[in-house]
């Protein structure tokens, strides 16, 4: 792995961003739908509360990974987010990185468990 110092807080933020990007793979969605879908697809493991979704969405938008646009459906205008090509590339790259981190963690956990017994 390239990193020598693993940033736990940064990793948690990256996971949140990946969750948002993942749920936008198939279609564009508005804010609360993204939150609901993530919660449903993860069986309630990942849920956004107290508006924590918005900084993630806006950071991704500023980074060019998603594009927000206002759409009018069923009367009221909603801000809908769609994955950009850069976002798709980022998602593919980051998925591999997360898999590597998790697999290394999984390798580490049994040895730690053995050491403690």
């Amino acid at each position: 792995m390239a990193e020598t110092n693993f940033d736990v807080q940064g990793f948690a933020r990256d996971i949140n961003q990946l969750l948002v990007l993942t749920t936008l793979r198939e279609e564009a969605k508005h804010g609360y739908q993204i939150a609901v879908d993530i919660e449903t697809e993860s069986n309630g493991l990942f849920c956004f509360r107290h508006g924590t979704l918005y900084p993630i969405l806006h950071r991704l938008e500023q980074g060019g990974f998603i594009r927000g646009s206002w759409s009018k459906g069923e009367g009221r205008r909603k801000k809908v987010y769609a994955l950009t090509p850069a976002g798709r590339r980022h998602l593919n790259g980051e998925t591999g990185r997360v898999q590597e981190i998790v697999s290394r963690l999984m390798e580490l956990l049994p040895s730690l468990a053995e050491a403690s017994t």
């Binding site: 508005h30 609360y32 508006g51 924590t52 979704l53 918005y54 900084p55 806006h58 009367g75 909603k78």
Partner: protein, 258 residues
């Protein structure tokens, strides 16, 4: 969507707005997004059989940012200028801003003066051109300052301060020029009385002097008026969107509600 739902979240939006120190345009966008999501989520919950009040409460809990998240949002939406200068001490930044403003104004005035000195009409200027140019320099400085404050720094705390002064200065420039024109004319008549044989030369000189004076004054007043119009129109537009979104009462004398 119904007015009923929109009004249900109005006080929530107003409370969020008070805690969000972002530029007004960003605030409006964020509050609109939040309102649409609140409404959609509570409607969705209602359609699943959740009672109305509970649906609204759950939507607020899920979507309304807490103070920490609002601070993060405000940090995310800082103008590029604020991000760039965040490492500087406030006092030092103030001095730098004023120096930059002074230099830009001086450079603009200098460029204008060079242009004027090359124009034939200003070869023999009216003495009233000096106050007109001095007022013009103040006008240029004020327009640059206001534009910098509103659009570069995105500081919307006192948006209307100085905007009317731009219009006032433009009017003062015009009045000074017309006053100069009449006083020059008065002087001309006295000289003509004293030396009628020089009438052709004196009249020609007066025409050249005051045509230059009026040209400069009209140009400055026009630029000032145009700047005032753009600034005023932008403010009216953005603050009316803000008032409309939060259903705020229209402030007296068209003054925005901060």
């Amino acid at each position: 969507m119904s007015e009923r739902v929109e009004r249900a979240f109005l006080s929530t939006l107003q409370a969020v707005e008070r805690q969000l120190p972002s530029p007004v345009s960003k605030r409006i966008d964020l509050l609109r997004e939040l309102e649409a999501d609140l409404e959609a989520l509570s409607s969705g919950l209602e359609s699943q059989g959740v009672p109305l009040e509970e649906a609204r409460q759950r939507a607020v809990e899920a979507l309304v940012p807490d103070p920490g998240v609002l601070r993060e949002l405000a940090r995310l939406h800082r103008p590029a200028y604020v991000r760039f200068t965040q490492g500087l001490e406030r006092e030092r930044l103030r001095i730098l801003e004023r120096s930059a403003l002074g230099l830009t104004t001086a450079a603009t005035v200098l460029a204008g003066a060079v242009g004027l000195s090359q124009a034939d009409l200003l070869r023999d200027p009216s003495p009233f051109l000096v106050p007109v140019l001095a007022l013009g320099a103040v006008l240029v400085g004020l327009v640059l300052m206001k534009g910098f404050q509103l659009w570069v720094k995105a500081d919307h705390r006192q948006p209307d301060v100085g905007v009317r002064a731009i219009l006032l200065l433009s009017g003062t420039i015009l009045m000074t020029a017309f006053l100069g024109l009449f006083l020059d004319l008065f002087q001309l008549t006295r000289r003509l009385e004293a030396a009628p044989q020089l009438s052709s030369e004196l009249v020609t000189r007066w025409i050249v002097q005051d045509a230059g004076l009026l040209s400069v004054a009209l140009t400055l007043a026009l630029l000032g008026g145009l700047s005032w119009f753009v600034l005023n129109h932008w403010q009216t537009l953005i603050w009316s969107r803000h008032r409309e979104l939060l259903e705020l009462p229209r402030a007296p004398a068209n003054k925005p509600t901060p």
